[in-house]
């Protein structure tokens, strides 16, 4: 009976809070992800009307595939940003993973050995990042900047800086994995969808997800409430590296070859995608869906520059500016909160 009573109170309170918090629409419009999503949709519609080239099957195929790569890595980056960290090494992990895959297969080993090996190499990088950050308290910016250099250099050593484009007996399987399509949709997009759903699910419904948000919100509180902060941090850096590693494997298949400049300065697009998608560089806020939407917007704008005949050299300006503006907004908010 007591429980019923509480239940009634609960629903009454729900009703009150719904009233005081207004319409679901106002909730929606308060979300950055919603506006970014809207911007991407408007950009797509405008491009379809203004150009005859955007809404073609070929172009849409390319756009979705390209944004899938940034999107997958941005999922991992979002987790890192949620705990208040940053991972600059993801672009180098992409090339390291791609190179391990390529070299292993070029040496005649099967794909089912090469891919786990590449992912293991990626996880090892993430483990290193995580241990340095969590146990030795090295700022993540410094650790991952160092690893950015180290991982790419390792890929160069591994390949002697040569292009790898013969992948042994499973050559075709690798090309299909990353470069093929099913039902007209490129394979990397399937990976993005599954990984984004999985990430969103983990963020929302597991203790791990709850704990990463708590760490980003107040790391000291997380420690004092008994959350294993250090191991959670390590797992997050490993997750980010794993996403980069998966992207590396897919990119080799798509390109049909791998050179050591693969993934160069990709970290910037990825951070921008996460931040545009609502991840807060101060920590504690971010969504998997936002990472995908942010990656989509970046790719649509990049694509529109090409189709509208504007030099793609402007892309870096756009990406860089967005990161600065996002951080600027954080600063403003923090300084206002301190007043």
């Amino acid at each position: 009976m007591a429980r019923e009573e509480v239940g009634m109170v609960t629903s009454l309170e729900d009703a009150i809070s719904r009233q005081t918090h207004g319409h679901p629409l106002s909730w929606l419009t308060s979300r950055q992800t919603f506006w970014v999503f809207l911007a991407a949709v408007i950009a797509c519609v405008t491009l379809s009307l203004v150009t005859d080239t955007f809404a073609t099957e070929r172009n849409l195929f390319n756009v979705t595939r390209n944004f899938a790569f940034v999107g997958i890595v941005a999922l991992g980056m979002t987790a890192v940003i949620i705990i208040g960290g940053i991972d600059l090494s993801v672009g180098s992990v992409v090339v390291l993973s791609a190179m391990v895959t390529g070299m292993t297969m070029a040496a005649g080993y099967p794909i089912y050995l090469a891919v786990p090996l590449a992912l293991a190499a990626s996880l090892a990088v993430g483990l290193f990042n995580g241990v340095m950050v969590a146990f030795l308290k090295v700022p993540p910016f410094v650790v991952t900047l160092g690893v950015l250099s180290v991982a790419r250099s390792l890929a160069m050593v591994l390949s002697d800086n040569k292009m790898v484009y013969q992948f042994g007996p499973d050559h075709q399987a690798l090309l299909t994995l990353g470069g093929g399509s099913t039902l007209g949709i490129p394979h990397p997009v399937y990976f993005l969808v599954v990984l984004a759903l999985g990430t969103g699910y983990f963020f929302r419904w597991t203790r791990w997800g709850r704990h990463i948000f708590a760490i980003g919100g107040n790391e000291q509180a997380a420690t004092l409430t008994g959350i294993p902060v250090r191991s959670v941090k390590i797992s997050v850096y490993m997750f980010a590296s794993l996403m980069a590693g998966i992207t590396g494997v897919l990119e080799v298949g798509w390109l049909g070859g791998v050179t050591t400049n693969l993934g160069q300065s990709m970290e910037l697009s990825v951070i921008a995608a996460a931040v545009i998608g609502g991840a807060n560089l101060a920590g504690g806020i971010g969504t998997a869906f936002g990472a995908v939407v942010g990656a989509a917007l970046i790719e649509v704008i990049r694509n529109s520059l090409i189709l509208l005949g504007i030099s793609t050299f402007w892309q870096g300006t756009f990406v860089g500016s967005f990161i600065i503006i996002a951080v600027l907004f954080d600063r403003l908010r923090v300084s206002r909160a301190n007043d």
């Binding site: 509480v6 109170v9 609960t10 309170e13 009150i16 809070s17 005081t20 929302r204 419904w205 597991t206 203790r207 997800g209 709850r210 704990h211 948000f213 708590a214 980003g216 919100g217 107040n218 000291q220 509180a221 997380a222 420690t223 004092l224 409430t225 008994g226 959350i227 504690g284 806020i285």
Partner: protein
């Protein structure tokens, strides 16, 4: 000397020391706490009271000394250890994750899960509403991030977290620092209620007036050392003030010195 109630002590901290670099933050301090008792831990900022109590809460390990819980020697090295012994802490900083809502904060590190191992948000919200309602009947917006809440509501969340898991020992570090008069009265009422339930409470404050009326005994610290412990009923506020400021026991204080305090 003081006369604690005649039952086994709930907590006994014996000869506890803690150094930070060359600084003796806590130097050979012994305090105890009995069931249903409130012990006020007093001293200036930097006297070592927060450091002492953080060793009981598992925030950091003691360099030397022993801790007994209900007569049994225990090792408390992490907050998790402390919670296992029924020790709950309300930190001065509240230790809330501002980006999460009240139920998430209440169950931080102890999330309820469904049989599938997923977060059981419904159960957590249900329990959160019950406990918060008990503390603060006007508390409605529990699903907001706590950063949007008032100081009193945030304090309620921190207190609710401590009492939710059937604590035996409660540590309250400056529990009323952020509160208005009405909320302070609410906390005082809660302390009396918890006392009745047999919970032992360490009440830490730099302000004598906050704790004097609520405490059964007061332990005073100065410069990392214990000045002494006295029954609140057997000392005056002035004598305790003398302990805090002069670092001397009531019997050592001269009337002139006490007069100087005012």
């Amino acid at each position: 000397m003081s006369t604690p109630p005649a039952s086994a002590p709930l907590v006994e901290m014996r000869n506890i020391s803690k150094r930070f670099g060359g600084v003796h933050a806590v130097d050979d301090v012994s305090v105890d706490l009995y069931p249903g008792e409130v012990v006020g831990l007093l001293g200036h900022n930097g006297a070592g009271k927060s450091t002492l109590i953080k060793m009981l809460a598992g925030a950091y390990p003691a360099d030397s000394g022993e801790i007994y819980i209900s007569g049994e020697k225990v090792a408390i090295e992490t907050p998790r250890d402390a919670r296992r012994y029924g020790i709950e802490t309300i930190y001065q900083t509240l230790a809330l994750a501002d980006n999460l809502d009240a139920p998430a904060n209440l169950f931080l590190g102890r999330e309820l899960r469904t049989s599938l191992g997923l977060l059981d948000d419904d159960a957590m919200e249900h329990e959160a509403r019950a406990v918060l309602h008990r503390l603060n009947p006007n508390f409605k917006n529990i699903k907001d991030p706590v950063k949007n809440m008032s100081g009193g509501q945030r304090q309620s969340v921190a207190i609710a977290r401590a009492i939710l898991f059937n604590a035996k020992i409660l540590i309250m570090d400056e529990p009323t620092a952020a509160l208005g008069p009405q909320e302070t009265a609410m906390v005082a009422e809660l302390i009396k209620q918890l006392k009745k339930e047999g919970i032992g409470i360490f009440l830490i404050s730099h302000d004598l007036h906050d704790v004097f009326d609520l405490s059964d005994r007061v332990s005073v610290m100065k410069n990392g050392r214990l000045v002494g412990t006295r029954d609140t009923s057997k000392v005056t506020k002035d004598e305790v003030l003398g302990m805090i400021i002069l670092g001397k026991l009531p019997e050592e204080e001269t009337p002139e010195e006490l007069a100087e305090l005012h």
